[in-house]
């Protein structure tokens, strides 16, 4: 396939996408995090387009357009509304320090490359680098959800995980069937909307977006 000529570009884009994950881990300001989510979505759409161009699969372009509209358009818009509505702009304290976050994230990337190397042999799949990178993104997203306290940060962590899945879908199998892809986008969109509504209500009831408050149900 003609993909060989584009492999450099593809791998460069995947590296940049991983870079945005690290940047999310390193930022405390909510507006910066939303901008990083947009950047990641743009890179993902770019990757989709390049792969579509290289392989001639038309569905890749549709995936790129959907990514642009949903992940770089509507979802950041909703998140911005939530951040503005609740009047919280930055996270004051997290469970894990910045330095520690970077170290752990680095470790997660290494683990992902080692682990997926065991499973898939060399040269399988459309883009060999996509699977380890996507596993790393899923783990980093999970890490964000577990260590960040603000509800909006947890929504962003969910988006990182989901972008990791999209990357896996793109890189391993020429994209998943279009109907399924549409359904997944619909789920993410409604999911972020409902999480946003809940974040509003949490803020109204607790006077804070801090999920530290959400630990009274036990036993």
């Amino acid at each position: 396939m003609a993909l060989g000529n584009y492999l450099g570009v593809v791998n460069f884009l995947i590296t940049l996408i991983l870079g945005t994950c690290f940047a999310v881990l390193g930022s405390r300001r909510l507006n910066t995090v939303i901008k990083l989510a947009v950047a990641q979505a743009l890179l993902l759409a770019g990757l989709s387009t390049v792969l579509g161009w290289a392989t001639g699969i038309g569905e890749m372009y549709i995936a790129a357009l959907l990514t642009l509209a949903v992940k770089a358009g509507v979802i950041p818009f909703i998140l911005t509304r939530v951040v503005r509505g609740v009047g919280v702009s930055r996270e004051v304290n997290a469970y894990v320090s910045l330095k520690m976050s970077f170290l752990i994230a680095g470790a997660l990337v290494i683990v992902s490359y080692l682990a997926t190397g065991q499973i898939v042999g060399k040269g399988s799949g459309l883009v060999h680098e996509a699977l380890p990178a996507s596993v790393a993104m899923i783990l980093m997203g999970l890490f964000v959800i577990m260590t960040r306290k603000l509800a909006v940060m947890q929504i962003t962590g969910f988006l990182l995980m989901e972008n990791g899945i999209s990357l896996a879908g793109l890189g391993t199998t020429n994209g998943i069937p279009l109907v399924v892809e549409l359904g997944i986008f619909l789920d993410i969109l409604i999911g972020v909307l409902i999480m946003g509504v809940l974040a509003f209500r949490i803020n109204r009831t607790f006077d804070s977006l801090d999920t530290e408050n959400l630990r009274n149900l036990r036993g």
Binding site: I138, T173, N174, I184, L214
Partner: protein, 489 residues
Amino acid sequence: MNAMPLVLLTLPLLIALLSILTKNQKTLTIINALGGVLLAGAGLSLASAVFRTGPLVWLGGFIYIDALSAFVISIIALVGLTSALYSISYTGRELKEGGIAPRRLHWYYFWFYIFVFTMLAVVMAGNLGIMWVAIEGTTLASALLVGFYEQKGSLEAAWKYIIICTVGIIFALFGTILLHYAAVSVTGEGRSLDWPSLVAQAGNLNPKLLKLAFVFALVGYGTKVGLAPMHTWLPDAHSQAPSPVSAMLSGVLLNCALYGILRFHLIVSKSQGLFSFNLLLIFGLISIAVALPFIIVQHDLKRLLAYSSIEHMGIIAAAIGLGSRLALYGAFLHMLNHALTKSFLFFAAGNVTQHYHTKKIGKIKGAMSVMPVSGTALFLGAFAIGGAPPFGIFTSEFTILSAGFAEGRYGAAGLMLALITLIFAGIVYTAAKVALGAPPGRVKKTQPDKWSLAVLSLSLVPMTLMGVYIPPFVDGILRQVVAVMAGGN
């Protein structure tokens, strides 16, 4: 015949739409009661058509309904109907006492029927990708129902529910993508997530990827089933939701999520031998064991029922893990019995907690003398869910255990027997504390309204009948489901 899946899928959407368009309580009651009956009728007639004539394939394979799907559709139809009717009684009292603002009632019914729609979509999907979309849909549709009261506890429960289940289910999507990866070169681009073609080609798929896909699906969908140790959201959500919703979550939703695992299990077990059986057995046993201490020391009536759901999903998973035809028969009989009994218990407990204005077990006493119907129902239900004869759960647990011993799995079956016995003691002890004794002076004697009475008797009859006599048509249906599970298509 071909229009039936379409009718069943559009009906709940239509009811949801009609509900959101009106704010009048009377009109909402009529829409919901009529709609609930129609929906149950449509579901049961579609299921019986499948039981009579075999699998139904529609829309180029996007909709695939075999005996296993039809069986879960019947459960959705039955418990969906009783929960819808009980909602009338429950929300009626909440409106009177100011628990729910009248202008928000139509949102309750809207999300309720969207929730039913997503669950029907889960079991009707013939494509594993669409099934994932539908299972994630069930979380989204029910999250706002869990948080419906907008109080601190319910918002906490709703947030944990949506975050933990969404994260869990993302792992299931990863598993689905791995399966797609394994299949795409074998089945071709278009068919790569179609369940029947995956089963047919199971032997040709990369075994490593197949096993890995199953592990991710088990962890992901297992989060929604409430399998330990991914169950942490379940007691919160099931106890904080309005009681009719708790009944739907425990009685129906958990089965739909388990259905998702079963579809993967059926593919993987065809080529990978005991791998998926053993994992199901282990996770099932761990779930039963984890539920035990929380049931023994529980202080919240609805959390008690929630932990009991973890136990029973564990029993079903373990029984499927045992894998013999008898164990499978017991597993699906248990699925039906648990759905009926647990929803019955949540209805009774809903009435009791509403009347006492508390869920704390220590503060509820003498429920049987204050509430002769609901209190007695709660007491009987506790015996039923614990597995005492003559109730259905006794029969299904007995079937599963004897299947385990007959297979020579003494360790697994013995452990299950010991845990079930201890849990029985814990539940009955708590129920006795709640139901018997002298009621606190502030609580007045009351009789249930006609909706509660109807719903409680509607559930009590089958859940008791199944303990003494399994009607031939139920037996035939269960045998068909077992044939799907044992044969693969």
